[in-house]
Point group: C2
Amino acid sequence: MSTFTQEPHKLLLIPGPIELSDEVLYANATPPMPHTGADFIPIFGDAIRMTREVVQTQTGQPFLIAGSGTLGWDQVAANLIEPGEDALLLNCGYFGDSFADCLRAYGANVDEIRADFGKSVTQPELEAALKAKKYKLVCFTHVDTSTAVLSDAKMIGETCKRLAPESLVILDGVCSVASEEIKMDEWNIDVVLSASQKGLGAPPGLCVVIASQKAIKVNEVRKAPIAGFYSSWKRWLPIMQAYEAGKPAYFATPPVNLIRAYQVSLTQITKSPTISLQDRFELHRKAALRVRHAATELGLKLVPVDPHYTANGMTAIYLPEGLGVADVVPRMAQRGIIVTGGIHKVNKDKYFRIGHMGVSVVHPERGDIAKAIAGMQEALQEALASKKATLAAKESYKPSPVRNPAVPRAYPRSIAVVSARL
Amino acid sequence: MSTFTQEPHKLLLIPGPIELSDEVLYANATPPMPHTGADFIPIFGDAIRMTREVVQTQTGQPFLIAGSGTLGWDQVAANLIEPGEDALLLNCGYFGDSFADCLRAYGANVDEIRADFGKSVTQPELEAALKAKKYKLVCFTHVDTSTAVLSDAKMIGETCKRLAPESLVILDGVCSVASEEIKMDEWNIDVVLSASQKGLGAPPGLCVVIASQKAIKVNEVRKAPIAGFYSSWKRWLPIMQAYEAGKPAYFATPPVNLIRAYQVSLTQITKSPTISLQDRFELHRKAALRVRHAATELGLKLVPVDPHYTANGMTAIYLPEGLGVADVVPRMAQRGIIVTGGIHKVNKDKYFRIGHMGVSVVHPERGDIAKAIAGMQEALQEALASKKATLAAKESYKPSPVRNPAVPRAYPRSIAVVSARL
């Protein structure tokens, strides 16, 4: 095990999948274990217990099921929505839209509070909605991967407790679990749904859901049958309970390699002798600050409007006017750093996204963040220089204003600003 | 890559997960690739194309989605069943029962033809059912992992074509794809559903479904909305088409490591310069014959009643009367060979199951099958000797017939038979 070193590769700094430790990758390559065997059962049990620790719950019930994070939405909708029931969705971007689509696919009546691009839903907006109507579910994306906007989970949970104590509060934590603090019990969160490939530090393919006992109960007393088979908590609950109790059980074959990799990652996250879970959150905050600082130093604007509502596991940065994703992201890739463009339908070519989660921030000795910042600076500089050269060539061509009136006469202002700072 | 060797481990001969090649395991441990990046897209595209080859279809549409094989049932039910529609299920065991449960969870009216334990549904039974009623779906388990019974996929597909040409024929191939021949187009099969961890030779966690264009069309014109989000073919179809066309697309993050491992395994399966797909099926047939022969040589009976309807990727063998799973399976494990007990609810302690799929049969130089046979012989011999000793001790104790009338007076007959042959 100690001799395994992962292949050389470009630094993966997208908002998931992320850079993984050698130990996690090696666990993913161990020969498959029999899924109901004595070696695997305690690994699965451990993974369940440590999942609770990460979201700070005593009584929440983890469900670890092969699938993408998207399957977490289906679990929420299939188990907790009966046709025609009302759900409120606090929508901060692309993933809010998709979560709403999923709820509607199961017959939910979804009301949305749509935040402007780069903003999150405010407490007064939430209060007004909860006073106006009773909702079975109040759903929000903790960090919307499309915008890097961080919602205030504590405020949302507590506001619901005060104004809508019967509602179930659903936190989509695909891009927040293990990079943002979540106090599931204390903040009145009923479901946290996530996936293995972001802050949780494992390869993609494991859907991670934690449901409060209140949510489990709501599912148990529902009138309509559960709207699914693979996503049914009733079918999975005895399986998860058995594995945790050290006993074999079977509903569907678990992804044994991935659960082992996930268990190794959770061990690194929750049992580190030197870095506590609180330290981990703090390291993510520091890395995010560093990236944001570097961006603003370059004169770039962040997508999230308010620094208090900005994710700590990723950053979304506007490109200077005149530059598109294709000008910058491939230039960072040439420097060995993989970041990605926008995803929000309106603005996707106007900004790019950097992920900074897991080992890249918890082990600063790797130098990942410094490399990302240097890469960003160089790529922008080169892109701007190239753009200037193109514009200058066009200028010197001096086309007739009648033949081609659209050619810009000067560099766009924001290119000039960024250029001056580089 | 060439230097990676998997950890020493016991020989995994259950009916999935199975023994994997070093190359497949190493692929599972490569650093995650960005899921819409230029390196990953052709890997996904290749995996899609090679999936078609394995089930011998020209036009079938593969769906490769993170999940267990069970998710394949959900895909069939969510996309192809509208509430109240009729499905016929040819039931040969535990997995037939579960498939029926899944169809019913989506509102299907399921009629079952239940074969006796160890038998498959016959052509006259199927013909009678198809003449009596019109079914939207005709579903069957190609190999029921609980019994090792192999259904006659060709007969079922052709009978449906003749008597129920509008029905969709659904083959549950979790335990058959790549270990049993399937000619999807020629045999009139509309959906093949499977999972990565058996004949397909990869770790568990990838649900593999191939749908005919007829099935895709039936889904497109359905009246009720698709009963799910994550399992919706309408959402996944453009994604699969894009990856195959070499273009990025996003619906949910694919399990990039596992798809890479699966692609490596499919390359070994479909592009081997020395072992064709036909050779592969033949090698599975030979290995199965060898295991069955060894079992019958020991005087043991097979669960499948008819050798023509017996799986080639696994074998289910009755224990001699007087011995239970706990007498034999742990003794094989002590010899480094992992097999497993029964799973069918009625008889699960009366038989055990040996898996023989993938590298264990395609590379006979590994000696896996020989080890399994020797391990079975030794474990049975030891178990019988131990049972005899226990019985002899009880005999010599000579308890009063009044105090303990249940103590057997002699070894059960089948122990004596097996004992004589060992």
